[in-house]
């Protein structure tokens, strides 16, 4: 979903460098190296492959194939975890890498809670959605991947 599709609550990106927001069609941001052509995620000031500082921020794709995955089966420690669940309300969530063709494999949460819903090689698409709500009511927007229906 995009910002336009959200509810009336104010919204804020979880990290302004992570993806374009607000935007009609938000995109994850990476870096492309002008020296060796390597695409990295998230965006960074130099190339992890060749050390060049001649890199520029680029938009990553929105669809790719699932490279590997797991299901996070227990409530992670806070900090660093900032989710609002309690041990009683926690529901396992998927985590995986989605391969953006010609770019990079991006880690992210997956819209799945059981291994039966996921398969290596399946098509996945990028979604944006509120991850939690700040004390002042602002929705904190993050990204995730979901199986393509």
């Amino acid at each position: 979903m995009s910002q336009a599709a959200g509810a009336n609550a104010p919204q804020k990106s979880i990290d302004p460098k992570l993806f374009t927001w607000p935007a009609a069609k938000p995109r994850l941001l990476g870096s492309r190296c002008n020296n060796c052509g390597t695409t990295s995620f998230p965006s960074q000031a130099s190339c992890p492959r060749c050390c060049s500082e001649d890199v520029e921020t680029c938009e990553l794709g929105t669809r790719g194939k699932l490279w590997s995955f797991t299901i996070q089966g227990f409530l992670p420690k806070s900090p660093p975890y900032a989710g609002e669940e309690t041990p009683e309300t926690f529901k396992p969530y998927g985590v995986g890498y989605v391969e953006m063709p010609g770019q990079v494999r991006v880690v992210g949460r997956l819209k799945a809670s059981a291994p039966e819903e996921l398969k290596i090689g399946m098509d996945m698409e990028l979604v944006f959605e509120p991850f939690r709500t700040d004390e002042d009511g602002t929705e904190i927007i993050s990204y995730a991947f979901r199986p393509v229906a």
Partner: protein
């Protein structure tokens, strides 16, 4: 250049020892190693030591003796113990010293390792949304490996079953009760496909190894062991490691492959010459993948190896004869040295009920850890 001998080994009980600090566990291990070779602390010309969470290793001199020796603290993540040993190896190999000690110890709080993403150069968002867990990395690496090479969940269970059975025969092990196949297979799913009893836990322990030049060793003992090679390597661009946010499309071999190849090259032997091995088993899948990354079998052959019992104590290549990290837990500073300790025990034929019956003459150790580094050794009679 001189050969490097291992003349003394010492270990403090792994697991939980309430009321005994990590430093005290390290000092105990050093005293045991000194007794093992009949030397005094004042004979030590140098020390390399490390701990991740239990203080500064050079503070050991406060209890062992202020002798003025060269003491250098080592910090290298999960390969801290292996790095201390590698440094000691170089100190003797160079000819600068004749005898010294490598020591590692730790005492971690209960529960999973605490992670502070921003201190590791990762964005705060990564921890916020629940991705900063080492368990997820191990699960995703073995998930992909099982998919690509046909390793089954049954094999994951059997690796853990073997290591707990070995731990039950190891006096210094933390978990001394063998677990049944069902207990492991039905334990809580932590991070699919890995279950609770397939993971090691942060723990406590101390270990020390005394090294000497070959000439010095012959004056002290009639049966020294020799450290034929000791290597540490870090990750290359494209290897899949813990806390990777963007994984390169071109996948590079892990640092274990680099370290292993360099270790065999230095020793002038091959994987087929190894008769007992300690391979990092952070979880069941890691031991399986490390069998291939260290060159002992081809990718996918582990399924047959484990099902046929090749890596059991009486198998053709006994792996983790002391129960590995699964049965001993993971005190980061001490783990790599525990592996060396165990190989020395096996080469001396002092393993008791866990002694490999193949009368091993050459052994191998491999430690791996965050953020992507491996340390390997080869030890022979």
């Amino acid at each position: 250049m001189t050969d490097v001998a291992i003349i003394g080994i010492g270990i403090h009980q792994f697991g939980r020892t309430d009321g005994v600090s990590g430093l005290e566990q390290g000092a105990y291990a050093v005293r045991q190693a000194l007794k093992d070779c009949g030397l005094e602390w004042s004979d030590m010309e140098f020390a390399y030591g490390g701990s991740s969470a239990a203080g500064s290793a050079d503070a050991l001199v406060n209890s062992l003796g202020l002798t003025g020796l060269q003491f250098i603290n080592v910090a290298n993540g999960c390969a801290t113990g292996g790095s201390a040993l590698q440094s000691a190896y170089m100190a003797i190999k160079s000819g600068m010293f004749d005898v010294g000690v490598a020591v590692g110890f730790d005492k971690h709080p209960r529960g999973a390792f605490a992670v502070e993403p921003e201190k590791m150069g990762l964005g705060k968002w990564y921890g916020d949304i629940g991705l900063a867990l080492t368990t997820q990395f191990f699960a995703m690496k073995i998930q992909k490996y099982m998919h690509d090479f046909g390793i089954t969940e049954d094999t994951l269970v059997k690796v853990a079953e073997k290591n707990y059975a070995n731990g039950a025969m190891t006096p210094h092990a933390w978990r001394k009760t063998a677990l049944t196949y069902e207990q492991i297979a039905e334990s809580a799913m932590i991070s699919h496909p890995l279950r609770k009893y397939m993971f090691c836990s942060p723990a406590e322990g101390g270990c020390a190894v005394i090294l000497a030049s070959a000439e010095k060793a012959r004056q002290i003992t009639s049966h020294p062991l020799f450290l034929k090679a000791a290597i540490v390597r870090t990750r290359n661009f494209g290897s899949f490691e813990v806390f990777t946010q963007g994984q390169a499309l071109d996948q590079a071999p892990s640092p274990t492959v680099d370290a292993s190849q360099a270790t065999f090259e230095m020793a002038g032997i091959g994987p087929e010459d190894i008769q007992v091995a300690q391979l990092q088993d952070t979880e069941s899948g890691a031991e399986i993948m490390h069998m291939a990354e260290n060159g002992f079998c081809k990718d996918g052959d582990q399924e047959k190896w484990i099902q046929e019992g090749y890596t059991k104590i009486d198998g053709k290549l006994p792996v983790n004869t002391d129960g590995g990290c699964l049965a001993n837990g993971e005190p980061v500073g001490a783990s790599g040295l525990r592996q060396v300790y165990e190989v020395c025990v096996q080469l001396r034929g002092e393993g008791g009920s866990r002694q490999a019956p193949n009368d091993p003459k050459v052994g191998y150790t491999h430690v791996y850890g965050a953020p992507g580094l491996s340390g390997c050794t080869i030890i022979s009679r």
